[in-house]
């Protein structure tokens, strides 16, 4: 094992280089970049908490969709008791009026492209 030291040294250099992105981020004391989304002005709270919405808005919309189309309901009672009319366009986009600077920016960043807008209307942006 005459070359042991050389091999170990080479491995260390390799590991250091392979982890370079981590070191660089740590050195700059910044986290990974985030999409710049425009929150609605003059509104404080979403349908549910921001945390919940970030994690579960896709599932919430599926619940909403099934409630309206399959169960014939049209109102949603949030966990804090506020009541909302179930409508992607009327309710979600009623507050998030700039969907392209909100929904789309986040989705472009994350790489999802929901097909909802081929049917659901965006008031300010449609024909």
């Amino acid at each position: 094992m005459a070359d042991g030291a050389k091999v170990a040294g080479g491995l260390m250099v390799f590991v250091a280089l392979a982890c370079a992105p981590i070191w660089l981020v740590l050195a700059r004391r910044s986290t990974a970049s985030q999409p710049e989304i425009e929150l609605p002005v003059g509104q404080k709270r979403c349908v549910e908490s921001a945390e919940f919405m970030r994690q579960r808005h896709a599932a919430l919309l599926v619940d909403w969709r099934d409630a309206v189309v399959r169960e014939g309901l049209n109102r949603y009672v949030a966990s804090d008791g506020r009541e909302f009319r179930i409508s992607l366009t009327g309710t979600c986009l009623g507050c998030h009026t700039q969907a392209s600077a909100f929904c789309d920016r986040c989705h472009a960043y994350i790489g999802v492209s929901p097909e909802c807008w081929s049917c659901h209307v965006r008031p300010s942006e449609n024909p």
């Binding site: 919430l60 309901l73 109102r75 949603y76 009672v77 209307v121 024909p127």
Partner: protein, 256 residues
């Protein structure tokens, strides 16, 4: 630790981690309900008073109200047409009622036609995805989210009451009602007896438009409800249904 023990412990660990992740991600109890002023029925039905309708030749109020409320496009090309409510001649609507002495005027008389919301709906029977089905209150409902565009329902419907979107309908909309979605290329669509209005306590758009004009040719309601106008009319007058011999049991009645 031998191999078996290692696998067991690792498996347990993975299960625990997975369980914890599911636990934190569980959706909070959500509640959905209808609006306070919802109109409900055991069974919805529509009555079309042909005599009252014939008083207003050329009237399109019901059609325009329906198509505007639901973003139904006006496509000139007949093969690609999309329609929820339209007018057909008496002869086409009731072929079995026409005989050699029926006058040309009667044959040509325009009659409003739409989805019959059949009690025994062939479209719902053949739909492979459950995108169209029969609700407990009799409405033949359409879930555009589940429609795969196979068009079995169109082949099954004897009334031609379903339209397919051969192309993007949006360029053919003069005005867009933001509150109701459009449809997209590749899905089938049809009248839903205005399910979205009934849950908000409103009558169907066509019925409202006809009543607002004071014509009263369209009746809507539960015929079994005591005192309902539609129930009274159906008991007092003769009513036709389209192609009754097919056994589809339409819930749209034509008062003659």
């Amino acid at each position: 630790m031998d191999r078996r023990d290692f696998i067991k412990t690792a498996g347990l660990g993975a299960f625990g981690l997975g369980g914890a992740a599911v636990g934190t991600a569980l959706i909070r109890a959500t509640t959905t309900k209808p609006s306070r002023e919802v109109v409900r029925a055991k069974r919805w039905a529509m009555g079309i008073d042909l005599r009252a309708c014939a008083q207003h030749p050329g009237c399109r109020k019901c059609i325009d109200a329906c198509h505007a409320a639901h973003n139904v496009p006006s496509i000139p090309e007949p093969r690609h047409e999309v329609k929820w409510l339209w007018k057909a001649t008496y002869e086409r609507t009731f072929p079995e009622q026409v005989h050699e002495y029926t006058t040309a005027t009667t044959r040509e008389q325009p009659v409003p036609v739409l989805c019959n919301h059949c009690a025994n709906a062939p479209c719902a029977r053949v739909c492979p995805t459950g995108a169209t089905w029969k609700r407990a209150d009799g409405i033949v409902m359409m879930d555009e989210h589940r429609c795969i565009g196979c068009r079995y329902c169109m082949a099954a419907c004897p009334y031609g009451a379903r339209s397919f979107n051969w192309q993007d309908p949006r360029p053919y909309l003069h005005t867009v009602t933001a509150d109701y979605p459009t449809r997209a290329k590749g899905v089938v669509e049809t009248c839903t007896f205005c399910a979205e209005r009934l849950v908000a306590g409103l009558p169907p758009a066509c019925v409202e438009a006809c009543q607002a004009a004071g014509f009263g040719a369209l009746l809507f309601g539960d015929p079994d409800e005591p005192g309902a106008e539609i129930g009274r009319a159906l008991r007092a007058r003769d009513a036709l249904r389209r192609s009754p011999a097919l056994g589809t049991a339409p819930q749209v009645f034509y008062l003659v």
